[in-house]
């Protein structure tokens, strides 16, 4: 009994010591020290919010943030004075035509969430090529060498627009894949050394551009992008320069691209081509 009392007493003492010896004197959690102030917005920023963020939920990122770019490349931010005009060009030549045929909220529903602008060329190391644009995870399209746009030269403007239509084609494909039959048309001629092909060699093999020969996914979107940055007549002229077998291959592929848009999005691609090409011409000086 005495032992039990002793044990009880000792346990009581231990409990007192344990409860009282470690007092919690930490401060209460204060307000956040992270700067949550609204960033300073320029007129340009407000315009971009009104024309891209609010209607389409697309962020246009033109300010330099290292995480958007590979620091091992010779890249730098775009000059501010070119941002609005390039954004308007995108709006007229991409968003408005798609929305006109696919429905007012077509772009808002299937869209990259971020457009990133870079002023400098994205030179590829150990390769005689530059990267014109990148699409990442269906959420972001990055444009390069935008400081060098010349609105008096249709080729200068159609080149980055081809990048846009190309990358957006990937995003559409990520939403709805295209037919496996596409890859069966010229399966043996896809090559990682695509940059060794001339335009003519690519056409003769059944590829609309040399890059189209890199893999079937690129092949699909290169046909799309070439269509949407050229008039129907110009596109037909390009195809007519291919060898007979090359023409046949390209036309087979084009049929699949046309069906893909018609069947999945109820868009007549020839009508879209007319709208995008006219918008391209209208965007020039």
């Amino acid at each position: 009994m005495k032992n039990i009392k002793n044990i009880a007493l000792i346990n009581f003492m231990i409990a007192i010591i344990l409860f009282t010896s470690c007092s919690d004197n930490s401060d209460t959690i204060g307000p956040s020290q992270i700067d949550t102030n609204t960033p300073i917005l320029s007129e340009l920023d407000i315009w971009l919010r009104n024309n891209f963020v609010e209607p389409y939920n697309i962020e246009v990122s033109y300010l330099w943030g290292g995480s958007n770019f590979d620091i091992a490349r010779f890249l730098y931010p775009m000059r501010e004075e070119g941002v609005r005009r390039w954004s308007e060009t995108i709006n007229k030549t991409w968003i408005e035509p798609y929305n006109a045929l696919g429905g007012a909220d077509f772009i808002a529903k299937i869209t990259p969430r971020q457009l990133v602008y870079s002023g400098g060329f994205n030179y590829n190391p150990n390769s005689p090529t530059i990267t014109l644009g990148i699409a990442e995870a269906g959420t972001r399209i990055t444009f390069f060498n935008l400081d060098f746009l010349d609105y008096s030269d249709v080729n200068s403007i159609s080149r980055p627009l081809q990048t846009l239509h190309h990358e957006y084609g990937h995003i559409l494909n990520q939403t709805i894949p295209f037919s496996d039959n596409f890859g069966l048309i010229t399966p043996a001629d896809y090559t990682a050394q695509w940059f060794n092909l001339s335009n003519q060699e690519a056409l003769d093999l059944g590829f609309i551009t040399p890059y189209a020969s890199s893999q079937e996914g690129e092949d699909f979107v290169e046909i799309l992008a070439t269509m949407l940055t050229n008039s129907k007549e110009d596109f037909d002229d390009i195809v007519s320069n291919a060898s007979p077998s090359g023409q046949a291959f390209i036309r087979q592929k084009q049929e699949i691209v046309l069906s893909y848009f018609q069947d999945n999005f109820n868009i007549n691609l020839f009508e879209l081509q007319e709208l995008t090409h006219q918008a391209l011409l209208n965007s020039l000086d």
Binding site: N6, I17, S21, L63, W64, G120
Partner: protein, 481 residues
């Protein structure tokens, strides 16, 4: 047993008491929390950059291994905008772009968030060779001392140092300063072909009183970069490379180099233009020791390489074709005032770009005056794709005191030779080194043998300099038939 039990319990209680409230043994390295420290550094840099109503001036050395420095002038405003000019390119007009101060990996960083060509041209030029970064948009804040703010360019290890501009009117004075230093940089390499000599050499002499060290300098104006080489009394060579910035120090035209030249305890970094001389002479003075960058006249080579008995000086011909390359000893004055002038003359005759210089071949002959000593000049006709050949005659070559003399006597006689004689007169004048009755009236042509050149066989490589206008030198080869 009971005692033992009590002792164990007492010991346990003591142990619990001592250990349960462990003293916080972590050291308080920082007084402030991380976010407070970040905000403090960013705030410090922001306050510094906004403290100068008339902005800052400074020099950015992007990469001490490959490129020199550029003068920058920047004026930061509260709304995250910055006005910038620099002397990197001829266009020194101010750009208005954006900046931000953010948290970097280890410190605050100044980022030029939108493009200013004064910054981006450096990156673009660096991209030309895929080999080196010449510039960046992000600069790590290193610190501030006596108003001088130092940044580091982490990517290429560049250093960017700025201090208050001291201007009364930033927009006017910054552009004026950038123009001044840009022109000084151009003047450093501008030569007057009428007075310049290919035997002038850029040197740096360091005189510490007890010791003199001479460096032979090679300057690359594209990269604003010097290669310096010295040879000691024992014949051992040493080299050092450094970038330069043509700048203003206390209003005086100056040359700042990076890295500094270290000799003994002296560090030579800032060279002031010596206004009392006509030539470009920059002098740095440290503790009574001086380092002087200047151009000196070296004695010309002896010319003993020339020998009419050597088979190369025969009918095989001395060929100068720029497209072959490999002629670094051909002077700019020769390229611009002889080759360039001939092309300009052709443009005036036939329209711009119709005829472009292809090559010339001088067939030397020392025995005949019947046009065996002959100059063949060829031009590409870009309208037809044809190669146009024209020929001009010289009296036999004469070698006196290791110099070549020969008189130009006229065209070969074809109509085209006659038609174009005036247009190619600069080249005819270059090879015309008059001599009459064995008595020269000028200084002659100097020949130097520069070794051999392999092109489907060994060719002798050599230069000719017209010693009456010693800024004209051509390097070419005697080709094997």
């Amino acid at each position: 047993m009971k005692k033992i039990f009590n002792y164990i319990f007492s010991f346990l209680i003591l142990t619990l008491t001592l250990n349960s409230c462990e003293v916080d043994r972590t050291e308080s390295v920082f007084v402030d929390t991380p976010s407070e420290r970040i905000e403090k550094t960013i705030g410090e840099l922001r306050t510094l950059l906004l403290s100068q109503e008339q902005g800052f001036s400074g020099i950015y050395f992007p990469n001490n291994s490959v490129v020199g420095g550029v003068n920058f002038y920047m004026n930061f405003t509260q709304d995250l905008r910055v006005k910038i000019t620099s002397d990197f390119k001829e266009d020194t007009s101010i750009t208005d772009s954006r900046y931000d101060i953010v948290t970097g990996t280890t410190a605050a960083e100044l980022i030029f968030t939108s493009g200013s060509r004064h910054i981006t041209d450096l990156v673009q030029d660096g991209a030309a060779g895929f080999d080196s970064f010449f510039g960046n948009n992000s600069f790590q804040y290193v610190g501030e001392e006596n108003g001088v703010i130092t940044f580091r360019d982490i990517r290429s290890d560049g250093i960017f140092v700025i201090s208050p501009s001291g201007f009364g009117n930033f927009e006017a004075e910054s552009v004026l300063s950038a123009n001044t230093t840009y022109i000084e940089r151009q003047n450093f390499t501008n030569v007057d072909c009428a007075t310049e000599s290919v035997f002038n050499q850029l040197v740096m002499q360091i005189n510490s009183g007890s010791e003199i060290i001479n460096y032979i300098l090679s300057y690359n104006p594209d990269n604003i970069f010097f290669d310096a080489e010295t040879t000691n009394a024992q014949g051992i060579s040493a080299s050092q490379n450094f970038g330069a910035a043509f700048t203003l120090i206390n209003g005086e035209s100056a040359l700042k180099i990076s890295p500094a030249i270290e000799v003994g305890d002296n560090s030579f970094e800032s060279f002031i233009l010596n206004q009392s001389t006509d030539s470009n002479q920059y002098v740095a003075t440290v503790n009574g020791a001086t380092a002087t960058i200047s151009s000196i006249s070296l004695s010309e080579p002896s010319g003993e390489d020339i020998d009419p008995e050597v088979p190369t000086f025969g009918p095989n011909g001395y060929l100068y074709r720029p497209s072959l390359g490999g002629d670094p000893l051909t002077s700019n004055c020769f390229r611009e005032e002889i080759i360039g002038q001939m092309e300009t003359n052709m443009d005036n005759l036939f329209g711009a770009g119709r005829l472009t210089f292809f090559d010339f071949i001088f067939f030397f002959d020392f025995n005949s005056d019947a046009c065996a000593n002959q100059l063949l000049i060829r031009f590409d006709d870009n309208a037809t794709g044809d190669l146009i050949s024209i020929r001009y005659c010289f009296d036999r070559g004469v070698i006196l005191n290791d110099r070549l003399y020969q008189n130009y006597i006229g065209t070969f006689g074809n109509p085209l030779d006659d038609l174009l004689e005036g247009a190619v007169m600069p080249l005819l004048d270059f090879f015309n080194s008059p001599i009459a009755s064995g008595v020269p009236s000028g200084n002659g042509l100097l020949y130097t043998n520069e070794g051999t050149f392999f092109n489907a066989g060994f060719n002798v490589d050599g230069t000719f300099t017209n010693l009456d206008t010693p800024s004209y030198r051509v390097q070419a080869l005697f080709f094997n038939p």
